[in-house]
Amino acid sequence: MNEAVVDESGTDGVMRARFDYARPATAQEAIKLKSQLGEKARYWAGGTDMTLLWQRSEIQFDHCIDIRQLDELDYISVEPDSIRIGAMASLSLLERSAEAHHLLATLSDITKLMCTPQTRTLATVGGNLCNASPASDLSPAFVAMNAQVVILGEDGERSVGMFEFFEGVNKTALRGTELLKEVTIPLPSAGQIAASYRRIDRTVVDIALVNAASALTVSDSGEIKKASIALGAVAPVIVRSEAAAQPLIGRTLDELDDAMLAAAGEAASKDAKPISDVRASAGYRRDMVKVMVRRSLADCVEQLKG
């Protein structure tokens, strides 16, 4: 039963940039198309940010290359040495993958803080990362987990650290026609890893005023082998605080008392370079970094002690 509906104007009367649309069948095809169309073409994933930018005329482009439905980039898989998350995995897929691994459970909890249930079905992990918002909820967690990203280009793949991927506000290591393929979270070959994310916000849909993620890897005897602390919304890019993490290495879980966690928070706070804006003052943000770092570390310790 087909019915033809003819539309020539039928919009809401608001003038916006016009563009044409293509849905390539493979990632390689998308890259080829982008290289043909050049600067005026944009990759389009879940579109939850792009639609807004387009509607507000904040971006100019002539061609939309829709990659949202590329099945080859839509997966979450747990392997012995890593967790691999395809760039087009939706936030709702990530939300539902909690059972597969405890690090995915941490990430699943994070997605529940992001936008709304019916935008999480559209939004993708890759889109969130490529938008490179300093207040992103996932970015600090991936940085703390020492994740790598795999980038697809015309001449094959390359890997970049999650931390190095972010180059500025809305700026990433992607060049030219490159496309984000996946996020890889390495898993320790011995011992255990735990990660936690904390943020200050007011309600659902809010973005973080301040956030922090921690990850600790301990040996079977409970000695901390790796520690990583990442801060969001306190600089143009995610901040990695070595000063906070370093003193924890070599300690045992039992040695990580309140004073040590608080000291890590203090050290992290010194690495934060927050601004004052409509959401919060720099001073408040710096204070809250201390609290978020302390709490996220305490979460990790609790998880590891079981």
């Binding site: 039963m1 087909n2 019915e3 033809a4 509906v5 003819v6 539309d7 020539e8 039928g10 919009t11 809401d12 916006r16 940039a17 016009r18 563009f19 044409d20 649309y21 849905r23 389009w44 879940g46 579109g47 939850t48 639609t51 807004l52 387009w54 509607q55 939309c64 829709d66 949202r68 439905q69 709702s92 529940k112 936008c115 709304t116 249930p117 019916q118 935008t119 079905t121 559209l122 659902v204 849909v205």
Partner: protein
């Protein structure tokens, strides 16, 4: 030419690609149960099901929905044969002005398919992507709980038959 499968009908839409699904559903197909309020994916009024999953249709390009099953409020019940969730919203008066109601009902439909026996708190979380400016939230939660009950009963009946 875009082929849309809306409410079990296949429709050819002649449209520019630079339009949102919500815009086309409302203005081309006359499905005005799809409400557009914020146009930013925050209020949930434009919630429709795409492939069974709830989506804010104001943030989706019309072409992105091509080939997938789209369900709007018009597709789940009619005036003479209301969907159990619609009936429950009436019985519990889960609205005041009702502008947001189609969005709430579509969210509830997707949620109850996944969690047929929710607690009130789970309903609140699941409905967190829909805003009701009249503030009918307590009634909406009760409506969804009653809808869950109705749906459980009818699926139990079906199983018994």
């Amino acid at each position: 030419m875009t082929m849309l499968k809306v409410n079990n009908r296949t429709l050819e839409v002649t449209s520019r690609p630079d339009r949102t699904l919500a815009d086309v559903l409302r203005n081309d197909l006359g499905l005005i149960g799809v409400r557009v309020s914020c146009s930013e994916g925050e209020c949930g009024s434009c919630t429709v099901l795409v492939g069974g999953e709830p989506c804010t249709s104001c943030l989706m390009l019309v072409n992105q929905a091509e080939g997938q099953d789209i369900t709007t409020i018009e597709g789940i019940g009619s005036q003479d044969d209301l969907h159990p969730i619609q009936q429950a919203f009436i019985e519990e008066q889960g609205f005041q002005c009702a502008f947001c109601t189609p969005g709430f009902i579509m969210s509830a439909k997707a949620f109850l398919a996944e969690n047929p026996n929710p607690t009130a708190d789970e309903v609140s979380v699941a409905m967190s992507g829909n805003i009701c400016r009249c503030g009918a939230y307590p009634y909406i939660v009760r409506s969804v709980l009653r809808a869950a009950e109705k749906l459980r009963k009818s699926s139990g009946q079906q199983a018994a038959e």
